[in-house]
Homo-oligomer: 617 residues x 2
């Protein structure tokens, strides 16, 4: 331990005591919360915020500030207490914990400027931290990333995805600390206080691993110092702690998870005990050390691409157009990064890798850390495009949910949508991805049908703030838009229109071509229909849909390579309901099976033939 740090031990101990006091007070005032989970982490948080981390408490936006992720988000009160101690908020403000009009929520969210990613769904913090640490490399900053995890959450598989990813990326700017207090919500944690059971696993995953007493301030400082000296791989500090530490009547006791001390006598008893624990200080703790300015400044403003080079009638899969567009974007702007989960040659994100390999992150078959790392990257200014088969994004739905809560600027893409993938069968077919994404109110959902609209919309995604999703298809489809056609998030294209259309057929992706075929078949027999390419499902152009409904006898027919719930049918129905219009939905209604794409598209009721029948019905 450096001499300077050693002289701070007493002062840091007193900070830990004040953090405990504030955590008890705020949770008692709120009448809910997790004081016992705060108490186990008090020395760790004190050491991080007042000895280890470099940050400017007056400038949360400083790109070189060290980053802290509270993966055990239920310990939020001690994070808020640390901010109060640092002068970021007032001590009085901490008493607004969990109130409706305060941003000091039960679990931290990026509504608070010092929070990068919302936590509270356990096992996500380390995944995000991988992305935050990768971003330091991207912008050339010396900032370091610290994560505080609970021991219970290390049962989550996502933790082991990041356990693999961080050493793979050689992230020696990443330090994780596990607060091993041995008690979960419902009882003892999986390995309790068997520190060796933790250590052997982290070492096996190639982390520099240090086991300490998490209440021994000198040991904490020494471990953090050792982490600084560790090159080429991340450090895991396994801190043996006691839940409820230093509040004697709850210390190490089961049954005190998520339970505040009752305001009044019970709280006062705890505070009296804590007040007794202050020690004389040799040297007052200075304000946190400021970061060194070293980051390369990210460009600001929109990224523009030249018009696509596809020609009308070319046949190109939208997944391939995605890869091409992504590579172009990446070459234009250092904010753009791409993440893969061992399918880059199917999603065509390998085109990005070939062009800008230094901003391409391979996650192997691990979708949770792919999305989690994208969340961390987005939180620090990158524009990440994680992509895999759309079906496998379901693996990361909890991360996507939390990315929505955080309103992060991530740009997800899922390929191989629907039964039109063919022979591989249902395990590889995404038929619920639109439902899953649309359920989140702030995720924009795009679903282009051709290469031009794909490329144009990828550029829009890069420039549109907030979480977004693009669905792409496996089969090749003809280019139907000219290179100067424009596309908007929230737009659609009316592809066929006449004064005597008897119905409006609304498709997206591969069903646009089924609708066009139905149009031609019907036209040959004297019936006119309107055809819409609904390339933006959320937001949705309700005004144009309503106009078309009115102009085509109120007859709207949707057709989608997706299950019947939550996709195009529901999106359109919801958009036109207020005007009293309803929708006839053609969608996949059974669990599908293997077969040829065209065979499946027809069998599951979404081919041109079925559209023709629906128009005639």
């Amino acid at each position: 331990m450096p001499v300077q740090a050693a002289s701070r031990v007493a002062a840091l101990k007193n900070i830990a005591t004040r953090l405990r006091i504030d955590s008890v007070r705020s949770t008692s005032e709120a009448g809910s919360g997790h004081p016992s989970s705060c108490a186990s982490a008090a020395e760790l948080v004190a050491a991080l915020f007042f000895s280890e981390m470099r940050y400017d408490p007056r400038d949360p936006k400083n790109p070189d500030n060290d980053r802290f992720v509270l993966s055990k988000g239920h310990a939020a009160p001690i994070l808020y207490a640390a901010w109060a101690e640092a002068g970021i908020i007032t001590r009085d403000e901490t008493l607004n914990l969990r109130k409706f009009d305060s941003d000091l929520e039960g679990h931290p969210t990026p509504r608070l400027p010092w929070v990068d990613v919302a936590t509270g769904s356990l096992g996500q913090g380390l995944c995000a931290a991988v992305g935050i640490a990768l971003n330091a490399r991207r912008i050339g900053s010396e900032y370091r990333t610290y994560v505080l995890m609970g021991d219970g959450e290390t049962a989550e598989g996502s933790v082991w995805e990041s356990a693999h990813a961080a050493p793979h990326h050689k992230l020696d700017n990443l330090v994780a600390i596990t607060d091993v207090n041995a008690l979960g919500q419902a009882g003892p944690t999986q390995w309790q206080h068997d520190m060796e059971a933790y250590a052997v696993k982290w070492r096996a995953f190639d982390w520099h691993t240090i086991v300490i007493d998490g209440h021994d301030m000198a040991a904490i400082l020494a471990a953090l110092d050792e982490a600084h000296r560790t090159k080429g791989r991340p450090t895991m500090i396994l801190a043996k702690t006691i839940k409820g530490k230093n509040i004697p009547f709850i210390e190490g006791k089961n049954g005190w998870h998520g339970k505040p001390l009752k305001k009044g006598e019970e709280m006062q008893r705890a505070l009296d005990e804590l007040e007794k624990q202050f020690v004389p200080e040799d040297e007052p703790v200075a304000t946190p050390e400021l970061p060194r300015s070293s980051a390369r400044k990210d460009p600001s403003g929109p990224i523009s691409l030249d018009p696509p080079s596809y020609k009308l009638g070319d046949t190109v899969a939208t997944r391939e157009a995605y890869g091409d567009a992504l590579a172009k974007l990446g070459a234009k702007d250092i904010r753009v990064v791409a993440l893969d989960a061992d399918v880059k040659n199917s999603t065509f994100s390998d085109k990005f890798e070939q062009r800008v390999g230094e901003r391409f992150y391979e996650n192997y078959i691990a979708e949770q850390v792919m999305i989690g790392a994208a969340m961390g990257l987005a939180a620090r200014g990158a524009i990440p495009f994680p992509s895999t088969f759309a079906a496998f994004l379901t693996r990361a739905y909890d991360f996507i949910r939390m990315a929505a809560i955080s309103n992060l600027n991530i740009k997800m893409a899922g390929s191989h949508a629907g039964v039109s993938i063919g022979e591989d069968g249902p395990s590889q077919m995404a038929l619920e991805d639109l439902a899953m994404m649309r359920a989140q109110p702030n995720i924009a959902v795009l679903y282009p049908c051709d290469a031009v609209s794909t490329e144009r919309l990828i550029a829009k995604m890069a420039n549109h703030k907030g979480p977004m999703y693009m669905r792409t298809s496996r089969p090749k489809t003809p280019v139907i838009y000219g290179p100067n056609e424009t596309f908007e998030v929230g737009g659609l294209k009316v592809l066929r229109e006449s004064g005597n259309d008897v119905a409006t057929v609304i498709g997206a992706g591969i069903t646009v071509f089924e609708a066009l075929k139905a149009h031609d078949d019907l036209k040959a027999k004297g019936t006119a229909i309107r055809v819409i390419d609904l390339y933006s499902l959320q937001p949705i152009d309700a005004a144009t849909l309503l106009r078309c409904a009115k102009e085509t006898n109120g007859r709207l027919i949707t057709v989608e390579d997706h299950y019947a719930s939550g996709g195009i049918g529901d999106a359109v129905a919801s958009a036109v309901a207020s005007a009293g219009f309803t929708v006839k939905r053609l969608a996949v209604r059974d669990i599908p099976r293997s077969g040829k794409p065209e065979e499946l598209v027809d069998h599951y009721g979404i081919s041109a033939r079925h559209i023709v029948n629906a128009v005639r019905a």
Copy 2:
């Protein structure tokens, strides 16, 4: 190696050659598929099916058959080839691989009687195998469970959830084999052929771990024998293999993932090479050894519960009624099992644990293995009820998707739905669970509002075949149904009805009580409304909804503690669309925040006040 097995080596080698030949033939015929991934596993599969496993090839239903899970589902052709070798199907049938009218799909599904769970989404097989192995204990069978995994899929976090769960449950009847062929889809796998990188991890997770050459038949047999002798923990056999083994021109080459040999010259070249590899046999392989009958026979037929003991006006949270009902069910029938992810004292599944602890499986904070193990248990005749906070079921959405594809009899329950949980904030609030579950066409979705309907519906869940989901709430709600009231999957209750209702208000869960309050408020001012408790969202009672729509001026108002997409509003809208009715939806439309439950219910627009306004609009 036992003498008997040793004498079989030559014969087993020849079986491996035949399995390679069949895998090449079937994929070439299909024009797609993964012959190279089959070739690496040929000796492993031959040893398992023709020396190690006990099963009756004529009786897939035998409860004592050893079980095999092909976690690397893309190697399906070699599984089908093994069945052909065992006489379960004909060799000619294997040539129907991936055809629409054959059940020999691109990845195996339980349409095939020898398949327990659909695979093809990597990283799931071992989780299911944990459940299958637990089931052997439940029914007192000596059957053993074998899983064949790929090396690429061990990057999935779910694998490490099961890596922890299996030794935790001391499953020495479980043997996993990793086919370490070092090549994934897009390139080398994460640890390639560094066998020690794998071994150190599995040992750290407390598996008996054996490293072998996966093409050395004697070594395979010896490892399987060692697994038999290993007590108290599962065995992991790490088999170093070559992708495309024994087809010299593709052996160990990148770029041959998921690529068949071209029918004609290319295929013939491979077959010629393989044909040369047959060796003289000392002793022909006998038919597989038959299982010993040892299983306790599961009861058949429905489970009935006595009427609930709640009294009208009692206030009981539906999550607590869930726990009570589950405990009653468990005491009645040994098929019923419960699984938790460290929240048993919040979901009240601890009531089950207290009553039937031997059929309660704690998974710690690991939702994927909780659902995966439930899938395995369901596949073998158990009626599993996995439960956690509904928000955290999003963590297992890919498993839920695959459970739907498998049409497994799992009974999921999610508590703490919606903004009505209050102060904990959005990370703990499920607001997309109904959308996520309803998207799957064969998952039944229930959402009771009081204790009586919860208990009645839990009994229905146990007796209704197929995947199901129940959503429960955190707050206490009054009991509104008498003990003899009956509830059906696909039913609803009209709670308030008069001849002059101006609108029908449809709620479920906590919003039923907001609707009842709105009813009373409006009634006091002379306006009558109809109120429906839509406790079954999928299937849905469209007939009654249509009748009510007709009787109440076509005015349907839904109100739900869920985001606007995919929940009650969309379910009702879809059910009544064909008759031209539309729905006014009250739902949560923004990312919520912490606050008091009643404060949030009102702020997000789903309280009685908002219903009254909607009725008056």
